[in-house]
């Protein structure tokens, strides 16, 4: 797209957009949403639903806004009587074979057929009840996708996604005329690693997620912007919660990272956020046993351990922890001039690219913040760090249940759950979380605000989607409190009240983040300035 600007008006609102822009996109900039179904900015234009018909001055026929490029001086009228009546006509045609089963449809409440019918549809149908409606049985398309053909409006977004974006044309339009439906070959399955996107793309309740089936009505959901923790891609997502329970993960558009899509691995990786077996209170070891206590005692106990530790510490951190938590964990040693060593380990899996989108894949590295950990000086030599932990004065473990090592020093564990394995148990042998002197209950990604740095060095914010259980607190808060307790008058004693402030502390002391703030990051994130190379 060239940088040449074209001036036009949409419903009398003047806009200037780059040459080549489609009228439907120019209209968005004028604050006008032209009703549409088949158009989706992430898919090739089909121009088939005919819903986005608008009037363009000096053109004899109505034009579809999704396939018409802007021209200088163009006057677009989306609300002219001709355009409105054409769209009302399309809605009427779309509804004649529609079952109108909104009360049992998962899409109800977030259905574009409902929305636009409410907006500009006819109050009643003229389709005689004598005429049969098209009927086809529900089809099982794949691991997580059901097709309800009776609700389908043949917009073909799903077909185009599989054909043009996933490059695996496993769906088709079958038959023709009013007999047409979305088809699949009997020997084929809609099991592409990115297939779940067809459910999001479907503007009606025709493609359904089995995982979300009948789980909630759309209007019961609270939505929070978040970042997927499934891999190092850092796809922007929305966490849908109902009564404090995460029930669905959907992509949140970010043209720089994931465009409009997320993979099924990420989509399905949310149940752990709702785990019930959480540590809900701080624990301290008394008489060989861990006892629940309050934050004051637990923090003081940890501070005591750290003070006596001659500042030799090892941090074994999860690459799923927030950048803020990783920062303060490190500062517990580093800010006090200590000799510290931090490391993380990453679970690896198979990579699965989305064929037509450059630089978008389910990454082999299944962690959201390995890059952030690296920028903060954590190393990938986990085994060596585990070995070093044996002789360290303090071993701080941040939500890393897989501690294979042991330590002669003190063990502080901050985590969401208390993993099995401990002294005397198989696989334990001294390094397990159950052997810790102090255990801090911390929030998971859905329960706190924070940032991750994706594999390309993009710093991105995630927001709190549900309350923390019991007394759990964000890890950054725990460590910053601890640091303040240990503080020695050089600024480290200052308390940090918010995640934003935690990030500011980080930004003021780490070059890669210098100059950044939550305000800068916004909802889409920005690249960190670091030049640390991306590991192969």
């Amino acid at each position: 797209m060239s940088t040449e600007l074209i001036n036009l008006t949409v419903d009398d609102v003047p806009v200037s957009v780059p040459k080549g822009t489609l009228v439907i996109e120019a209209a968005k900039q004028a604050g006008v949403l032209v009703p549409h179904y088949c158009y989706h900015p992430g898919l090739p234009v089909a121009g088939v639903c005919r819903m986005c018909l608008v009037e363009i001055e000096k053109q004899p026929k109505l034009a579809i806004a999704c396939a018409t490029q802007v021209a200088e001086g163009m006057v677009v009228k989306t609300q002219s009587s001709a355009a409105k009546s054409a769209r009302t006509g399309v809605l009427e045609f779309l509804l004649i074979n529609h079952p109108l089963d909104c009360p049992i449809c998962d899409q109800a409440g977030e259905c574009e057929l409902q929305d636009f019918t409410f907006q500009e549809g006819r109050p009643a149908t003229r389709y005689s009840p004598v005429y049969a409606k098209r009927f086809n049985p529900v089809e099982d398309f794949g691991p997580d996708v059901l097709y309800v053909p009776n609700r389908c409006i043949l917009c073909t977004r799903c077909v185009r996604f599989m054909e043009d974006v996933a490059k695996e044309p496993v769906l088709n339009v079958s038959e023709r005329g009013d007999r047409a439906f979305i088809g699949i070959h009997p020997e084929a399955r809609l099991d592409h690693p990115w297939a779940g996107n067809v459910v999001d793309l479907c503007p009606v309740g025709s493609l359904l997620s089995k995982d979300f089936l009948h789980k909630a009505r759309a209007w019961e959901l609270d939505k929070s912007a978040s970042i997927c923790t499934g891999c190092s891609q850092g796809c922007n997502i929305t966490l849908d919660t109902r009564e404090g329970v995460v029930v669905r993960v959907r992509p949140r558009p970010n043209l720089e990272v994931n465009r409009y899509f997320i993979c099924d691995h990420g989509r399905m990786s949310y149940r752990w956020m709702n785990r019930g077996d959480r540590i809900e209170a701080p624990l301290v070891r008394r008489g060989g046993e861990l006892h629940a206590t309050d934050w004051d005692e637990a923090l003081e106990a940890a501070a005591t351990l750290l003070r006596g530790a001659a500042r030799r510490g090892v941090v074994l951190a999860s690459p799923r922890a927030s950048t803020e938590a990783l920062f303060f964990a490190r500062e517990l040693f580093r800010a006090r001039g200590g000799d510290w060593r931090g490391a993380f380990q990453v679970v690896m899996g198979e990579e699965a690219a989305l064929a037509a989108v450059p630089n978008l894949a389910l990454r082999a590295e299944r962690a959201p913040n390995a890059r952030g950990a690296e920028l903060l000086g954590y190393g990938r030599d986990y085994a060596a760090a585990v070995a070093a932990a044996e002789t360290a004065a303090v071993l701080l473990v941040l939500d890393e249940p897989e501690i294979a090592g042991r330590t002669q020093g003190a063990l502080i564990y901050a985590g969401t759950v208390l993993p099995a394995g401990g002294r005397g148990e198989a696989g334990g042998g001294g390094g397990g979380a159950r052997d810790a002197q102090v255990v801090f209950p911390i929030a998971n990604v859905a329960e706190e605000e924070g940032t991750f740095v994706n594999r390309d060095g993009r710093v991105q914010r995630y927001f709190q989607a549900k309350p923390t259980p019991g007394m759990a607190r964000p890890a950054w808060w725990v460590f910053s409190e601890l640091l303040a307790i240990l503080g020695n008058g050089d600024g480290t004693e200052a308390r940090v009240a918010t995640a934003a402030a935690a990030f500011d502390r980080l930004a003021s002391s780490v070059d890669a983040f210098r100059g950044l703030s939550y305000t800068h990051l916004g909802l889409a994130g920005v690249p960190a300035s670091s030049t640390v190379p991306v590991p192969a």
Binding site: P169, N172, S174, G183, H185
Partner: protein, 172 residues
């Protein structure tokens, strides 16, 4: 809401590929006509129908493999074109034009006569002897010679009900 799983493909007998020997050679020649392999899809489907009489899901999967397409894509195309049979049909497949120009010239009487004379009795059904399937089709493009019918690849013009019994006899 009922959920229907896809039926497992019928039969366990080993699939006999269509594209071997002369048919494969014919496809090879067809491929030289087009800049893409995909373009050979319609001709390839004609070859399958010529060889097998109809196009099964398994055939579609074979065509897909031969042309570098997916079975679902091929199925989408097969179901678009009405001349491709997705089910077995009678040995003699009869298409009768009943669109308006032929309709006013008595095409529906020709259909009735054919259903009776062939024993197919019902549109789209196959006669008990497996010999005949009769369907109504839209315009065959020979409106001046009402009523035109196609018996397999034989295009027969000016069929009237009284000519039907002889015509049917000829194919027995």
């Amino acid at each position: 809401m009922s959920v229907t799983a896809h039926p497992t493909p019928a039969g366990t007998e080993e699939y006999q590929p269509v594209f071997v020997g002369a048919t494969l050679e014919a496809l090879g020649e067809i491929l030289t006509r087009y800049p893409t392999r995909q373009a050979a899809l319609l001709p390839a489907l004609w070859l399958v129908q010529g060889a097998r009489g109809w196009i099964s899901d398994r055939n579609m999967a074979e065509v897909a493999e031969v042309l570098g397409l997916t079975p679902a894509y091929v199925k989408g195309v097969v179901t678009f074109y009405t001349m491709y049979h997705q089910h077995p049909v009678g040995r003699h497949f009869v298409q009768v034009c009943t669109t308006s120009p032929c309709n006013v010239c008595g095409a529906e009487d020709v259909v009735r006569a054919l259903l009776e004379a062939t024993g197919a009795n019902e549109l789209g059904a196959t006669s008990p002897d497996g010999n005949w399937t009769v369907i109504e089709v839209e315009c065959l493009g020979a409106c001046g010679f009402a009523t035109p019918i196609l018996v397999n690849d034989d295009f027969i013009e000016s069929v009237t009900p009284d000519k039907v019994p002889d015509l049917v006899r000829k194919y027995k």
